[in-house]
Symmetry: C2
Subunit: 516 residues, 2 copies
């Protein structure tokens, strides 16, 4: 990503100067989201929400393709459901929004207060996740092995009271999908857990152009109550890891708490094995930190609300009409093309304002292809266009091409598909260049993440997969370096050698990194 | 809807015997929704949610077509925002879910309670509607006349604490879209208000096959703080009216409360004129009570999750494989057709279980076309199929047709489009037959709705459009008959004569009815 110094940047902060400030600036300048005035909650603006709508559409197709059916479950969960969970889950998180009253009343001083006469007998919790309330429904729906597997999903908002929030990455309210499934046995539930993991991996790679490592989280990072937790982990441009999706095999623990039983083929009563899996608006944070550059966001075409934006160069003169007609015809022709399996999404920007400002607005938003049409283009039957992902040439100028309109229309789909692949390739190359492999001593690990390193990346190690107190000792060692174990990759070569943490023979690979 | 008595009904209760019980039975037997165990909240099951997804898709296309952009705003609204509204809105509703704490803690007896140390400084309200929080965002987004109109929408869940709930029609939590727009002046805001009203009217008629009257609500039924409220009103099969969508012109009141100002072309500061408009999961209740019959639901093809369901008649014998292959080929051929502007949605029901039970399951769910394929059909290259909307012939038998497969595939789209239109025609005919027109005295009105009338329907009257105390007197008179004024139709002939309520000259028509 080296750029010559004579290049104009649309943002005031570069990634290199201050990655965290750059992230906030991209979100503001690309008009993706903003603080709402409500603690920890954001307003998702049209460009950010449009990306979420694309994520929803493409993920929902994959979910339905797997035979999972969408439902909707209550926002509120009675307190007693959590008490049940707290009993048997040590890691039970308690930071949740609690509804205690159902009415407001005047305070006699012109203000409003919760009405003391409208106190709920049992407080309600705003769902932080829905295992308990969906488990209660499953206990009604499952009678026999014939009802299994039961495959449900919901798209919903959830709330987890967060002390320190960061837009898209960690907000008190966020949007997500949560899949919840029930199965006859461990093998079937584990197959579903890994199917969801693979769905997330291929979605991240194919649709978000975001390379990820799919693997199992260590015991200490499991979802509370889970038997096994898997994740996809992506490397951000500052080298930190982002957990971008999780899939949990829950064993029979949740089924026992909720009473999800079935009659097996022999007439016996069995508890179901359940799973849950989810991705959230956090993915948008991952897209920003994977593909953004010092000019703003670059959106992979598969999730871009507009894939091609046409900016007419108008001058408030009568000839403008001809330019607009030309652009409308171009828009129709492009929209009749198909790219990445769908009709091309083309936007014609007819707002008032200078063309140059509009161009830079779309650069910051990261529209994959930006077309500019002026009087000279109309006269020549041409279009001027550039790819947002590689917008500068070696001389530091915008790498605009002028092509005959027909030729551009004919090549547009291929250009979009190239961008989708090239963004992935660029991110994968960067990720792979920033993984230090074969780190086999704690000293070597410390050197990787020394203060002098500008770009720490990840360390790949081999370990003995300690559990319990031995694992806790490793976690504490890593904590002194501000590191965590991300996951054990699913597809990996066998390992040999000694675990640097325990001195035992190593049994599997792990990735160690700083993280969001 | 007269049916001969030898017809088998799939439901245990008929509409005529007990409409309210019938409604609940349709929802249960069509597996649309169920009580969740959380007061006033329902679980929307796959068939009900699938209908909602279709409603969302078709409505969202109309919303985007109008240039409105989707956003997402916080679930929580600070109490102080409502205090502002309460100041200037008499009708301010106070039944809302109030969040007062952000943490749970053990009570020392094995239970959990809200942590007294985690009490919020300012309580948060779970949004009952989002005018205030969206108004706050608009006040940041609007600076100049160039920023207007500002056209936003969100798809979200909202909560209104309801004492008496009924699934889909009135639940504490429900799903909806809420459009919120800001404009330079009254004319532009009023045009948007009426555009949304017309969007709802045509959506109801075209996509839900549900005839509606679009018109203005009387002053006493306005949204609190609105200058004018418009609605679409549909007649249910028990003659009651269902308000199925509303659109409000809010004047400058909300803009003044939230500070939504713009600089006009002359450099002066002006308040915006705002609108809001919404439809909700209540529409699904309207679809049930418009199209359901004594065998369950009948879903208009435009919103049916599956438009054609294929039930193979399997007998657990080796020949089953041939039937399944035949059905899969049929499914592919049908899915390659287009009806109502989209690819045909075909479902092949391969679940275990008897074909007859599966058939009746789809009858109760109201799949528009049900196809049954047995060995004889495969041998003859035929399909057996019937339309759910007119499933019985005059002899009281299921009106199944046997057609060559090619012929059926070729006609399937036209059949679906016929069903879409026929359901509308049937509902419109019933609606029009149950409006008593020209009711010009209170005595005549009382007779229309006398206890002896099984099917009251609506009364069309002409009135003087009284306001204030005079209107309140009318409202009270109507209340003794359990009646309300539904709306003043937009498109109507001029009226003459005398207002039966006030004795003044009549100026416009109104519909009077019992309602949900």
């Amino acid at each position: 990503m080296s750029q010559t110094s004579n290049i104009r940047h649309a943002l005031s902060v570069t990634r290199e100067a201050d990655f965290a400030a750059w992230y906030q600036e991209v979100i503001a300048e690309a008009e993706m989201a903003e603080e709402s005035g409500v603690r920890g909650c954001m307003v998702i603006k049209p460009w950010g929400y449009g990306i979420w709508e694309r994520i929803q559409k493409l993920m929902d197709e994959r979910i339905k393709e797997a035979g999972v059916e969408n439902c909707y479950f209550p926002l509120f969960i009675p307190l007693s459901y959590f008490a049940k969970e707290a009993e048997h889950v040590d890691g039970f998180a308690k930071e949740m929004a609690v509804v205690t009253h159902h009415r407001l009343i005047g305070d006699g001083k012109g203000g409003l207060v919760p009405d003391p006469d409208a106190k709920l007998e049992e407080p309600l919790i705003v769902r932080p996740t829905s295992e308990t309330v969906i488990g209660a429904a499953m206990s009604r729906w499952v009678q026999s092995w014939r009802d299994l597997p039961l495959l449900t999903n919901q798209w919903a908002n959830v709330v987890r009271w967060e002390m320190r929030t960061r837009m898209f990455l960690r907000t008190s309210e966020f949007l997500w999908q949560e899949g919840h499934t029930a199965h006859t046995d461990r093998a079937d539930a584990m197959a579903e857990t890994l199917r969801a993991l693979e769905m997330y991996r291929s979605f991240a790679e194919d649709d978000l152009s975001m390379p990820v490592i799919a693997g199992e989280k260590p015991e200490n990072e499991r979802f509370p109550g889970a038997v096994a937790t898997y994740s996809i982990e992506a490397m951000m441009q500052d080298g930190k890891a982002l957990q971008a999706g999780t899939s949990h095999y829950l064993g029979t623990g949740f089924a026992e708490a909720a009473g999800i039983r079935y009659q097996d083929r022999e007439g016996g009563q069995q508890f179901c094995h359940t799973t849950s899996w989810g991705v959230s608006t956090r993915l948008i944070g991952g897209v920003i930190m994977t593909h953004g550059d010092d000019n703003g966001l670059r959106v992979p075409p598969a999730i871009a609300p507009h894939q091609i934006v046409i900016v007419p160069m108008l001058r408030d003169v009568p000839e403008d009409g001809e330019i607009i007609d030309y652009c409308k015809a171009l828009q129709r022709e492009l929209a009749a093309q198909r790219a990445l399996g769908e009709p091309v999404r083309v936007h014609l920007d007819l707002r008032a304002g200078k063309a140059a400002n509009k161009r830079w607005g779309w650069v910051k938003k990261g529209a994959p292809v930006i077309v500019e049409v002026g009087g000279r283009d109309v006269a020549g039957g041409n279009v001027s266009w550039f790819r947002r992902d590689v917008m500068y040439n070696d001389a530091g100028k915008i790498a605009s091409s002028i092509d005959p309109r027909d030729k551009f229309v004919a090549m547009a789909a291929a250009v979009l598909e190239d961008i989708q692949g090239d963004l992935h390739g660029e991110a994968e190359k960067r990720r792979d260049a920033n993984i230090v492999r074969g780190v086999d001593t704690l000293g070597a690990l410390g050197e990787c993440f020394a203060e002098s390193q500008r770009y720490p990346g990840w360390a790949e190690m081999a370990w003995a997969r300690p559990t319990g107190a031995a694992l806790e000792a490793v976690v504490q060692q890593l904590k002194t370096l501000k590191l965590t174990i991300r996951n054990t990759p699913r597809q990996a070569e066998p390992v040999s050698g000694t675990c640097p943490f325990t001195g035992q023979p190593a049994v599997e690979r792990i990735y160690v990194a700083r993280s969001y």
